[in-house]
Amino acid sequence: MLDTVFFYLFAALVLGGGILTITRRNAVHSAISLIVSLLGVAGLYLLQQAEFLFAVQIVLYVGGIMVLFLFVIMLVNLDQAAKEHQFNKQWAVALAEIGYFWYRGANGFATADTNPAERAVDTLGAAVGNTQQVADRLFSDYLLPFEIASILLLVAVVGSVIMAKKRI
């Protein structure tokens, strides 16, 4: 029961934060809302017994990306942008599309059946902790993607440095 409450709580955070993110005029408000949303997501991770990911989410996403966002927001002068019209011309079409999307999907969600197997098992029935499990799988089966991801990060670093430089 507590799961349910926390789920809905975190869900509210996520969705509310999300909605706020996309509707705020002030970019900083948007960023803060996003942080709230991301925290909510982290909570959800925890509920799903993905502790490592919960930690990674907080550290990386909120602590890294959102800080980066905030820095950039401060670099870029958004005061002028805040005064302008916020939504572009195609918002009606976009909403209609999304609405339709949700409509098509909602049916599916409503009539989907739940997985009984989930109720039976409460924990992941393993002696090791989640982090250990992740590490085990990551560095054995998914080693190559891991390395590639690290190269990707390298590239990203180089790329962002170059992009942001004043003179290349």
Partner: protein
Amino acid sequence: MNFLDLIWLIPLFPLAGAALMLLFGKLLDPQPPSEVAVAPGVEPVYEHGHGGDHAAHAHTHAHDAHGHAAHGHHHPGPLQNLIRLICPGMVLLSFVFSAGAVWQLSNLPVHIHEIRQFTWIAAMPFHMANGHMATFQVDWGFLLDPLSSVMILVVTGIGFLIHVYATGYMAHDNGFYRFFGYLNLFVFFMLMLVLANNYTLLFVGWEGVGLCSYLLIGFYFHKKSAGDAGKKAFIVNRVGDAGFILGMLLMLSVLGTVRFTEVNTLLRSGQFPVEIAGLGVLSAMSLLMFFGATGKSAQVPLYVWLPDAMEGPTPVSALIHAATMVTAGVYMIARSSALYELTPHTSMIVASIGAFTAILAATIALVQNDIKRVLAYSTVSQLGYMFLALGVGAYWVAIFHLFTHAFFKALLFLGSGSVIHAMSGEQDMRYMGGLKNKIPVTHWTMWVGSVAIAGIPGLAGFFSKDEILWQAFSSPKGSQLLWLVGLATAAMTAFYMWRLMNMTFYGKSRVKPEVAAHVHESPSVMTLPLVVLAAGSVLAGWLGTPKLWGLGEAFHTFEHWLEPVFALGGEASEHPASTEWSLMILSVAIAAAGISLAYYLYSKRPEIPERIYESAKPLHKVLYNKWYVDELYDFLFVNGLGKGGGSVCGEFDRRIVDGGVNGAGWLTRFSASVSMWWDTWIVDGAVRFTSFFVKLLSYPACIIQTGRVQAYALFVVVGVLAFLGYYVTR
């Protein structure tokens, strides 16, 4: 040798002479640089036109200069004698061969001999008027029958005499070789004309003599009047030739052939009725050919060229315009006698025009002062007689008169040439007179000729002319009116001829002093032909004496000789002999009266003509100006048709033809502008439309490409939506 098979040589001799002269003559008789004449005035009266300046020259020549003021004085080249031998010699050869052929012809049972040299125009089939198929083929063929035999003897005989005369007359002329070349060429064409066995070949000769006439009339081409006269002769002839050609084509269309023998067979076969009622095809044919004859033989309306033709040298006048070329028309109609027998109306027209011409020309000759003009009009008048004879059906009489006329007319012309030669170029009779003793041979030969032409019994003219008058009176086709006209003309003929004789030889001398000093008789090369012709004038007539005289068959040879050609059933006249005698005596009396009146007026009492002239000036003016016929023709045809037609044609050319051309240009420009419009609007329009269409089609695609990323993102989402939607609902 068989002359009959060699008749093709007869025309060939003079042709050879002509070719030699015209191709190589310059070598034989090199000309000094010609001095263009100072021809004092261009008085048409003078043949020579040098007036008195030559008289001032000191000459050692026996001959005085004449006839070459336009050409400059010319000393005969050393080879000129060769020309004197060649050209008359060629004609002499022709004469010999002709005589031989005629002699051999007379020994044949049937006096016809036809040979064919080669086919000139190959056989062409064509449709006749009545739908049958006929073949048009023209051979280079010769027909020797009594009619053509008379003609070749006249042409070659008299031609030879005139050639001999001309060697003396033209001795000092620049164009000696050219003259003889043309003269020989003329004889060739004339022989072709009379020897041809079909109308087309006859026409070749017809045209050829017209050409030579032009060349010879315009011999003194430096003089404008000579050139004009030549042109006039040729053009007037041409008008007649148009009629001839049309007639010939009509003959082809109706009869299908142009060969004499075939034509005569067809016409005499009875297929064609005598056209008494109206004017049928045959009448048209005969009228057209007669029109051609009026051109060649100087009848009304196409006689106007003959007096002007006196611009040529006198031998030319003698040969061409007296003895031979002008008789071509008479010959042609005599040859077509079968045709004219079938068309009485045309025959009447022929006779009427002949009579009318005779009297018209005689009236003009009465008052002319140029000796050659008188003779020219006399020729026209005598030709009128011949046509009168043809018209009344007396074909052999016409040929007979042709025969005798050739003698005395050639004689008269050559004699007048001799007079002119003696008078150093003077041709006006008003400045002659009393020459009887100074140039005796010329005088008495001309006397013979004048008596002959006047129609005094015993000489040639009487027999032929009298026969004509009798036939005009008595023939079924004749009439008393025609006879009367003929009689009046005979009176006038006697009168004007003896006026000429009196003014020239008798009475007081009116000769200009500077001319009188040089009066001399012509050399024998000129006088000998005169004597021969005089003899002929006397004797020739005895071949055709009237039956009335009952002199025996020998004296009727001419008629008998020509009988088979004309194949007429001798229509005996129902007139009693007394009528014929009385008419004969009447005509002789008239002639004698004319002669004595002329003697009286011009020798005895020369002042009377002056008085007559004073009192009848207008009449004299009309006669002297030839009844203003030339002026009328000028007005009608030269200025009317010629210049008027020229301006009409010019207008036509400017307006319609050039208009057409300009119109074509305008059309081109217009079509070019249409093309341009087409190109600009339709072709370019299509091109532009293509681009417009493509742009039109691309517009939606362009609209999509906004440049805004979010729009693209939207499309991505739409695509995903579609994709997923499909799979979800499946």
